[in-house]
């Protein structure tokens, strides 16, 4: 039994190792000026796995390119933006998938796909993080009603991320 659990855990882990986050697009809220953008920029650059940060100052959009073989989760970026004193309005991950079968309410390691049709993701695909703290507070209120059927969504476990393939 132990062996089976270990084997399953290993399989899940290897699946995620195959799904590598290569880029994170963060729209930050609560700011308009370039100094605040700079504050977020400097926070993001303290992450060792960050290769570069491109900024659209008018949209408060931060495109964070990550180094290969990173093990970062969306929470790292959320914590950095909040340390700068701001919040995340939207977060889209570019993930390199290797023939990953996804379907609605399917959990893969710490990630659960919701509001997503069954499909096989292969190569670079974009997924949006839908959890509390990764969308605007207004949007979260709406989503909490829409996603009431997903029990894990309402729980708000900080280590579990709900993704939608876009």
């Amino acid at each position: 039994m132990k062996k089976i659990i270990f084997a399953i855990a290993f399989l899940i882990a290897s699946v995620i190792t195959n799904a590598q986050i290569t880029k994170v697009e963060i729209m930050a809220t609560g700011l308009t000026c370039s100094m605040c953008s700079n504050a977020i920029n400097k926070q993001l650059k303290t992450i060792a796995e960050v290769e570069k940060v491109d900024i659209d100052l008018n949209k408060n959009l931060f495109v964070v390119t990550l180094k290969a073989d990173n093990k970062l989760t969306p929470k790292t970026f959320k914590d950095k933006v909040e340390k700068a004193g701001f919040f995340i309005g939207s977060m889209v991950l570019s993930v390199n998938f290797a023939n990953q079968n996804v379907e609605d309410n399917k959990q893969i390691d710490n990630y659960i796909f919701i509001d997503t049709k069954a499909q096989t993701l292969n190569g670079l695909a974009k997924v949006k993080v839908l959890d509390k703290g990764y969308v605007t507070s207004k949007e979260y209120k709406k989503l909490a009603k829409t996603f009431v059927k997903y029990q894990t969504y309402a729980k708000g476990d900080e280590g579990i991320f709900h993704l939608k393939a876009i």
């Binding site: 729209m27 809220t29 609560g30 700011l31 308009t32 000026c33 370039s34 100094m35 605040c36 953008s37 700079n38 504050a39 920029n41 400097k42 926070q43 303290t46 900024i55 100052l57 008018n58 408060n60 909040e82 340390k83 700068a84 004193g85 701001f86 919040f87 309005g89 605007t136 507070s137 207004k138």
Partner: protein
């Protein structure tokens, strides 16, 4: 130490929206966690006899967490004879307890407190723990930012104690006051951002009022200012403080101010 110097050299920045980095008041927003800011407020105030006195107030600020920050400040002036003298210092703390942010806007609230020591003689009805009185102040500030405009308002209670070494607070005066402020700032330039190196220009106007609780004497000042943000790093403010009305004695309410500020980013974890 090496890291500290490197951080100082390569990475200073500021957190709050520039439109709400007011000259006379603090917004509800804080500095980023781990940042250390240094600033000086230079005031050239006209005494009643027409002479100009100079006050310099250097300040160090630290964002302990995203919600907590503290300032340590010292007060120096040449108001009395014998050149520039150190008159006192203060410790200030602010806690941001509410934040409702959305795209290009926010509404935030914070509680703040200040404790000051001062060794100047007590020469006016007005209570000012920032540079004149030993005492304390506690208040609430709310700041709303929408696109290029920020509006901030604060309400505080301020109490004066005896100044050092033995300047007793006059029993004939009110030793406590209610302060209220309203500050408005607007980003004038640039219309569209192209880089972090662009100079930003903000236009601001602040109203500062005080009412002495024991006798009802009050005053109201207006402070228009122009602010330049350079390379999203440095800040220079030019302001003029003008008394609109006063029913209390004040020795030098009107004058010019120049403020410089830098924030050294990611100095502490």
């Amino acid at each position: 130490m090496k890291h500290f110097i490197v951080f100082i050299l390569i990475s200073f920045s500021q957190q709050t929206n520039a439109q709400e980095l007011f000259v006379m008041t603090e917004p509800a927003s804080n500095m980023p966690a781990g940042a250390i800011g240094v600033r000086t407020l230079n005031s050239f105030m006209y005494e009643k006899d027409g002479t100009l006195n100079y006050h310099i107030m250097p300040e160090i600020m630290w964002g302990i967490t995203a919600k907590w920050m503290i300032h340590v400040q010292s007060f120096h002036s040449n108001r009395t004879t014998g050149g520039l003298k150190t008159e006192g210092g203060s410790l200030y703390a602010k806690y941001r307890f509410y934040s409702n942010d959305d795209m290009h806007k926010h509404f935030r609230m914070a509680l703040y407190g200040r404790y000051s020591k001062n060794r100047a003689d007590i020469h006016q009805d007005e209570i000012e723990t920032m540079g004149h009185n030993t005492g304390y102040e506690g208040g609430l500030v709310a700041t709303k930012l929408v696109n290029k405009v920020a509006i901030s308002s604060s309400l505080s209670f301020e109490k004066a104690l005896n100044n050092m070494p033995n300047y007793k607070f006059p029993t004939t005066q009110s030793n406590n006051a209610t302060n209220y402020t309203l500050s408005v700032g607007k980003l004038m330039y640039p219309k569209n951002y192209t880089s972090l190196k662009q100079t930003n220009i903000n236009l601001m106007c602040e109203f500062l009022g005080q009412r002495l609780n024991a006798n009802g004497k009050s005053n109201l000042d207006i402070v228009p200012s122009l602010q330049f943000i350079i390379r999203s790093q440095a800040r220079i403010d030019f302001a003029y403080r003008k008394q609109l009305y006063s029913t209390m004695t004040r020795t030098a309410p009107n004058g010019f101010m120049v403020k410089f500020e830098y924030t050294f980013f990611n100095v502490t974890k």
